[in-house]
Point group: D2
Chain length 379, copies 4
């Protein structure tokens, strides 16, 4: 019997929104066994949460030093092989760094770090250590995003000439207009979140998606951000003009003051032979537009889809899957990578994607602060 | 540390569509641990599948007798507490019966049995044994179905006066017109499937849903079925006029020859104060219609929803969940019932729902064969 | 200069909902000139309304006798060539009869008459007089309905095996539960409306559409109607099982107590090679479903559509047309017929469609009153 | 009898797409009578088209000089009171100017002229002459756009903080990649179209709509345009960052290379109390989003809508209207203005809207050519 991969989790405890997303995803394909971790900075809360998960209390650790020491002392077939980092943004870097240095595979939430500098350091260490490092750009795991990526790669819509990605939420509207609230929200605290709120949290998803589905790299950006209040140090809305190589242009639109929007993330890609559209809140529909042909609506699970898309769908057409299934596909990709199955190489976002995301955040803020000027993504 | 509930599975192996649905659902909330079962009638295939799931090969059994004997010999804290029956329809009855008689809690796929008689026998045994018995009418676990049920119970749409449930698929069209194919399909073989194909497989979902969301009982039915070919012994399409008590009327429409449809299951309920609509393929949208008011679209995770609905959602609004999450909610309901948390009493479909489904199947076929006449559901 | 066709209108005055629908439709293609009529039973109101339309007051008549006498005394190139009858149902018959007998072409609202007998009489007269007689089943004029009809005729979805037409409204719910209101509504008064309310008003649309798009004839029907109150003489909801020749089966569903619904008229046709769906409230989308192919969404104005569909669209794709445009196409069909352009023969519903509608109404009520039995449409 | 307003038309002949849009709109509410005009630069074609419309050939003129001379010689109650200018862009200015100078009311297609200078001249003349001058920003006539405008004015969504308007088409993709085709398209010929193709043709609609529904003025813009080929003198795609007073920001996105898009014009407005969304291809749905409330979908014809919206709807809810009805509302607004009914003042776009549109076009191109810099709209 081949054992499941032993997984540890940092963060993701009682108050976490994303803890359950990672746990369900990890359990989805019989590849991982959650064995322990640190779920909360307060050890008692962490222990209590571990109990809820029916975990062995000996593997609920007080801190990362202890986790690394104890786990490394276990027999090879029992020790954690991979650790998911779900803590607040500013802890991603020190934790991921320590894990990498001690030889652990890592799954890390986005944004990868709070600065591009930190991300580069992680990147250097990982290249030396040659471990697996996944960054959970969750939405890339959706079967219809995979289909979109494959179709664009196959030339289905020809040469890309227009890219438009929107990520609109409204939740910050509820607190931004109240001085007390906006000064006590961790997302709006640069110490905890880095230099950007909206672009850092969701703009990065949009940027990553634009590059992921097109297979192209953004070369230049020009950003206009909105802070609404002078005492608010963090952007809560922004529009970023983008230019790819080959003069294909586009726009990334992100907002947390699009009042009433929930998680309205949508992708529109137009080439010289057709267009493709997708919306996260209805993830099982991919729209293919061709000149002088009926609109086509592609749905998961059909034989005419790409192998890469079909691998991400578990049931026949008509059985809607959701965001847990998308994250499940990313965890599965990491599992396959850990088992060294090279064909799954493209099946999860990597450290380099996280690094590029950090570059995007810094350059976007920089473009805005310099007066909305073009900045090259390569520098 | 409280242990997870030990779960065994019968069927659901390599060729199964629904095996993964049950496994993911069972793992979703850290309540169950799959420990073994019989995944295939061929022991070698079963063993191989167990290996894929990283299960202990000692708990992959040759047959149900062995499973019962061996599991019952284990210490109380290690033995299977509940067994999921995912085998073809005709095996539901003998397996569930043997499990019940030996004191196991059971989760069983629908249709519960192949005859109403069998279902009554199971019902009697269960009442004596007082075990937990869940029937997986999967769709009842969707948060917006729970919301619909609560709103109707709370009088939101007033007195129900019209019920319309559609369950359309197209898959049988692909084989029904070929004599060879239709004679070799197990769904069209009365020995394996019971007396009905379309009504048995999906009409029962529609019937169950009509009663589940309204909290009312269908009193009389009149059915017109379609077999298309004389040598085809099984209905593949049917329309059933229904009458509830209080003269509320309606219709259940089911088809497997609605060519091109995937899993088009929709529910429309109209009362004297409003109407509610829901579609399985877009399960995160519940439409509330009131006279002289804007159409309202309710989506999961919002604070204004019922507690029952919110318990079934794991993430904030805008993060779409799907059918795995719906089944997960049913498994969670069974877990809570096993732990004797009475407040979860309504959170999973029970043996009596399965029994009523068998009655519906038999009476529908009977109504059709007698010339499309009214039949009372109580007799 | 070829003159426009002179059109008279009966009814459709100040309180009328449909008057403007007919007037806009008539004016749409530069084919008709509205010259006069009788807009209200009270001559002063009629005159006032005529003034609003900027009509010559000499052609606003006191009654139909006068209209006929005066118009027939005018030179051929000035007299009304066609008269639209938009009065309450019970006036359709006497007015249309008198017009036919005096050689006028007629456009008549549906239901054609209040009894099948009356409809037969009109039919006989028209056959003798050989005039043009259009019945305004408005929805048949939509470009995507025309496309649906052409595609089915061309075998695009193969042999039809399932037909499902829904026409749900909620407006009667607002008055049906109040004894006073329901006794004072003309739609619920058999003297004014005929023997049926729901089936007569909207069930006929559904029936006509089922036959129109499939090109098939319903052979047998079995109906269950709902009256809700014993003192209510008129059905306000009903489900009708239908069987076409060739054992293709289906269902017509109509309701005026589907609370909150506006004008939810939808058509689903399934053949052995595909399916087609359309919804009146979103009339510019036709859904084509084929096994193992992406869903196709056909929209008006594209070169790949049938000539018959394209004739009904005035602008390039993306410019939504609505119900006025649909009615406009029917009026255009009548204009072409009057000018004896035989190729437009199928472009408007004819007296025979109205006759068949009356047969459907009577047989539906009869089926229900006999205890929900099958009735042959031919008798 | 009050006569209808006599309307003349310039352009809109056989090859015109929009001719029928204006004619149907003009006829819709019994306010206008089309009496003549110049439908084509070739008099014979013009005469032939006039015959098709059953017009008096004496009022089909050879040129504008003749039209003005002859019409002005007619008795006051017979002469054209208003003339619609539907010619190619470069003819708008000279024709509208001559009409204005000779005292005619004018309805003019957009873009108003080919330069801002020309628009200013028209504006000055109109102010002197005090005639009615409508500019057909067609989409502002939709009932749900009127509703949106009223709701924003009433504070329904609070203070506007984010505006996002998209206008995507794909038609130029079909010719832009072929050197021959792109050099022979009048839309891409600066002599005929002015300095901008995409922004001039559809970007102006988006800009006008942003200001129309919010009631606010754009203060600064920064544009990035796409020409795709160096020998193409006209933009075919562009994104424009916009800033209103009060630091409300937004973006206007326009493209004619969004391959496969038909006429995808959508408006998203977010305030601090809610958001509103609308899409032109489904014009009968207005989406209202409020925090912690169900999404509301407002549809035309309901009593809860604003008076301004209801005036633009002709039938009860559920009867979809389209673009002809939207344009009809604008023509009706012009008719009411001509009759000096001051309450209709806001019911049609005016010369000043066209002037502002020209300013937007010139400044957008200027921003792009200067290297994507901010330009103030006031200068």
């Amino acid at each position: 019997m081949m054992a499941k991969i032993k997984l540890g989790i940092l963060g993701g405890g009682e108050d976490s929104l994303i803890g359950i997303l990672h746990r369900v995803a990890a359990n989805m394909f019989d590849q991982f066994e959650i064995v322990g971790g640190i779920f909360d900075q307060h050890h008692d809360k962490s222990l209590k949460f571990g109990e809820k998960l029916k975990l062995d209390e000996k593997r609920i650790y007080k801190n990362l030093d202890e986790l690394i020491a104890k786990e490394n002392s276990l027999p090879e077939d029992q020790k954690m092989q991979v650790v998911s980092v779900l803590t607040p943004n500013f802890l991603h870097f020190p934790m991921a760094k320590q894990l990498l240095e001690n030889g652990f595979n890592v799954i890390c939430e986005k944004p990868l770090t709070t600065t591009y500098e930190e991300a580069k350091i992680l990147n250097e260490i990982q290249q030396k250590k040659n471990t697996i490092f996944g960054v959970t750009y969750t939405y890339t795991g959706y079967p219809m995003i995979r289909q979109m990526k494959t179709m664009i790669a196959n030339g289905e819509i020809g040469k890309v000439q227009k890219v438009d990605v929107q990520y609109y939420q409204g939740w910050i509207n509820q607190l931004i207009h109240d001085k007390e609230k906006r000064s006590s929200t961790w997302r709006l605290d640069p110490e905890k979140s880095g230099i950007s709120c909206c672009i850092g949290d969701i703009g990065t998803h949009a940027f990553n998606m634009a590059e992921y589905v097109t297979g192209m790299k953004v070369e230049n950006i020009l950003a206009d951000l909105n802070y609404l209040y002078e005492d608010n140090p963090m952007d809560i809305d922004g529009t970023v003009l983008i230019r790819f190589t080959d003069k294909a242009k586009g726009v990334i639109r992100a907002s947390q003051i699009a009042t009433g929007e929930e998680n309205s993330f949508s992708v529109q890609i137009y080439g010289d032979k057709g267009g493709l559209k997708w919306q996260q809140e209805n993830p099982n529909y991919l729209y293919l537009m061709k000149e002088d042909q009926p609109l086509q609506v592609l749905k998961p699970g059909h034989g005419f889809l790409s192998e890469f898309s079909l691998e991400g769908t578990k049931l026949p057409p008509g059985h809607p899957e959701g965001i847990f299934d998308s994250m499940g596909n990313i965890y599965y990709g990491v599992a396959m990578a850990i088992k060294d199955q090279s064909k799954y190489d493209g099946a999860y976002p990597k450290l380099n994607d996280g690094l590029r995301g950090m570059s995007f955040i810094e350059k976007t803020v920089s473009s805005h602060k310099q007066g909305n000027v073009w900045i090259n993504m390569k520098e």
